[in-house]
Amino acid sequence: MAKKINLTIDGIEVTVDEGATILEAARNLNIHIPTLCYHEDLCVAGNCRVCVVEQEKVKNLPASCATPAAEGMVIHTNSMKVRMARKHIVELLLSEHNADCTKCYKNGNCELQGLASQMLTGDHLFLDLVPDKKYTIDMFNTAIIKDDSRCIRCQRCVRTCEELQSVSALGVAYKGNKMKISTFFEHSLFEVVCTNCGQCVNRCPTGALIERNYIDQVWDAIYDPTKHVVVQTAPAVRVALGEALGMATGKIVTGKMVSALRRLGFSSVLDTDFTADLTIIEEGHELLTRLKRALVDKDPTVSLPMATSCSPGWIKFIEHTFPEYLPNLSTCKSPQQMFGALAKTYYAQKRKINPKDIVSVSIMPCTAKKFEANRPEMRSSGYKDVDFVLTTRELGIMIKQAGLDFEELPEEKFDSFMGSSTGAAVIFGSTGGVMEAALRTAYEIVTGREVPFDGLNIVPVRGTEDEVREATIKIEKVKPEWSFLEGVELKCAVANGLAHAKTLMQNVRDGKATYHFIEVMACPGGCLGGGGQPIPTNKEIRTKRKMAIYEEDLGMPIRKSHENPEIAEIYKEFLEKPLGHKSHELLHTHYTPRKRY
């Protein structure tokens, strides 16, 4: 058992485990100490100094986030000295900060603004330093915009990029008054190793890192009578959108989301989950084909382990960091891009609409999807397959703009076709979900039986944020045509967060681990913790979203992708067969090796 430490905060005695900080001890007492650079997901920096407190018999004010509680400490969180110091610090931050809040995308959702209003910093104690600075805005990226004039140098983004994602696209440059958050040789985020995962956006307390928003373009398309605007929604959006609209965390809002989208004026409200099911069929067959080539044909050129390709942050990461492993990526496009390609082909034909008049919009928990939609290869329909990608947050803003009372909206159903889905598609939103969905289908194709797990719940592959998850599934009593798989132990690994992905790939590269199939999601917790999800984020919030996702899966009448009736229909009417000619043309892609800086 951990040693106990007794201290006094604002006259109240409290006991905490050894190693706990003053801030944690205060939170146990429901005493709120303001913070800025502190974030639950990240290591302690102690650099904004907003959380300073007064410790009796100590001259300086320690930063409560960085100072461990010690026996007998007497702390005051709200003394005269503390209030003055804190006010000075917030005023200093504001003096360096472009504070035209009404022009800021984060207006109303900014931690600095919140603190400023709390402290009544209207005095402007100090001189305005902004005119002296040569702040720049990086607007070149299709996914993320970096505005240095709004940066408070808390380094949350730097720590996110390094610790959670091991990408280190963002770092600190220069010192003193010129100190700034920058990239390799100050290139645009577009030109460096940035994966567009948006985890920095999720953790930026101000408007310095934001998604490039396409809200006005989407409104324009909706109001254009010549356009048919289809919208698809990713699985993780429906368990988080409520948060952006004032609802409790972890609420499933699928039906309300559908009715909101309809009221916003989208011509057709469809579901990315449909193409998630389709991904499973294509990717499952691709895996089985690779296994056959490896085990039966003894083909030395076949690349195993096969890696999932749904997460565009992961794709860009592997293109930069492990380009020699690009052949290991499944050639399947992500569900978003499969949907886009089908919207302007299959859907257009069936609905007898000229594809040039279709505007395809997707609602994603993700910022990297914006980059993905703008990849030059994503035009297999002959048009840009997905025209605009909106994050969960942007959809939240549109719903507010339209004046909808989200909580009171009725529950509605997706349009058909390309609107029906299964539980297997829903769990794409959580780490391990693609793996589980693929196994539910592949195992059944090979054996004719359901996966041998209680209630189809393949718990061993459900990822955690703490480690790379490994699982082995033994394949037995197979159908005759799959006899080469009899007794094979299928080795799988699941990773979320690019730091874990890097560990996983290093193990594969160094021969420390051999797998058949690996699933990687770029963001902590998978898409539910995506860079386009409502802010704030922390482990507790992500866990609630995760529980909601599995709850949604359990509640679905169909829970295996291959049983989705619309999937059978699309193969019959349009695609012919998995991995067929049309599939290759529309649903599969290729990747580009990139440099490591």
């Binding site: 100094r49 300073v52 100090f126 600190v172 010192k175 003193g176």
Partner: protein, 388 residues
């Protein structure tokens, strides 16, 4: 007020013993406890400026469990107006290495590192020659304590001990949160003793003379002598080894040009003492401490310009990570300019004084905390010059 007078000393720069590494050899014959006891007895306090008792620092590190420990010599002499470590390393490097080796034995470290100021690169060939001799003798003495030189790259902040560790580990020179202190988590997050160049030499001198003789020098709070870097309006600028605890007026009598208006004690991060306070100011830990820098200004100097110069220095040399230091320095500089130009009323100086007080108690490291020293001492004593 101290009755002491100015006394020149020849301890630090005194001649080597006739045999190479003789004091080291005799010291190593004694137990760690005896060595620590002598250092404690001597009253030695760190010579970098902060004055932490050296024996305690060593004792804490020795008591911290761990197989991997380090001795680091801080030779990143960057304080404006300080150039004494340069002289020590040029003239008596052997004493520095001996002091480090003694520390290594006492705390159980297997390695010593010297973090050398980037601008002192020219010394490296000579130091390497001396290190080769040291390693030869260490081998003969059966001492497994190699010493390495690591180069700084010119950032002032890297003289701050935890930023120095970050820099040596290949990171960006940014101070760490304290606690933990270096005694438990220093270089490579291992228990580390980090001392100034001069401190190590003092240890060797205590070993040579014994604590009793060493204690003859200085005052109760400030034992021993100190190497001073004297610059500014003086006919005899240079390096002087003087007894600690002297009154400033005696110092000015000796080194001033007859028209001394103020002395900046301890460099840009130290205190400015005006003429009227010379008599009451003692140079030492009981009065105004210094890492060695003594800058003398005569009546032709504008103290506004002096302060402006310091603030420009801090504005640029702050690492930039913590708010009070990064933005505070910019505000102080811009603020005094605005007052001087008449863009801000004179009372704005009071606002700036309060800000400097906040910086002193909230900045993450010694750099931001000590900006207030020169700021408040110059503004308080020369307010007129700030305004008109």
């Amino acid at each position: 007020m101290s009755e002491q007078t100015l006394k020149r000393v020849d301890l630090i720069f005194g001649e080597y013993s006739n045999e190479k590494y003789k004091v080291l050899a005799t010291t190593l014959e004694r137990t760690n406890e005896e060595i620590l006891k002598d250092i404690l007895e001597s009253g030695l306090r760190g010579r970098g400026g902060a004055g932490f008792p050296t024996a305690m620092k060593w004792k804490y590190t020795a008591e911290t469990p761990g197989d991997e420990k380090y001795v680091v010599c801080n030779a990143d002499e960057g304080e404006p107006g300080t150039f004494k470590d340069r002289e020590i390393l040029l003239r008596v490097p052997r004493k520095v290495f001996s002091g480090m080796a003694i520390c290594g034995r006492v705390i159980g470290a297997k390695k010593g590192l010297m973090y050398l100021r980037g601008e002192y690169k020219f010394m490296v060939p000579e130091l390497m020659k001396e290190l080769a001799i040291y390693h030869e003798h260490a081998k003969m003495l059966g001492l497994d304590f190699p010493i390495e030189i690591r180069m700084g790259s010119g950032a002032y902040i890297c003289g701050e001990e935890s930023a120095l560790f970050e820099s040596m580990e290949g990171g960006r020179g940014e101070p760490r949160n304290k606690p933990p202190y270096p005694t438990t988590s220093g270089f490579m997050k291992k228990p580390t003793v980090i001392n100034n160049v001069e401190t190590f030499v003092n240890v060797l001198m205590i070993m040579r003379l014994g604590p009793d003789q060493y204690k003859q020098l200085g005052t109760t709070d400030s034992r021993g002598s100190k190497v001073f870097s004297v610059s500014g309006d003086t006919p005899i600028p240079g390096i002087y080894e003087l007894e600690l605890g002297m009154p400033l007026d005696r110092f000015v009598d000796e080194f001033g040009d007859g028209d001394t208006k103020a002395v900046q004690v301890g460099g840009a991060s130290g205190f400015c003492v005006p003429r009227k306070k010379f008599k009451d100011t003692v140079i030492g830990f009981e009065g105004v401490p210094t890492g060695g820098s003594m800058m003398i200004f005569n009546s032709s100097r504008s103290m506004y310009n002096v302060l402006h110069n310091y603030l420009e220095f801090f504005e640029e040399e702050s690492c930039g990570q913590c708010t009070p230091c990064r933005v505070g320095c910019q505000q102080l500089l811009k603020g005094i300019v605005a007052v001087k130009k008449g863009e801000k009323k004179a009372v704005y100086l009071d606002q700036l004084m309060k800000l400097s007080e906040s910086m002193k108690i909230t900045a993450k490291c010694g750099l931001g905390q000590s900006v207030a020293n020169s700021f408040s001492s110059i503004v308080n004593n020369f307010k007129e010059e700030m305004i008109y």
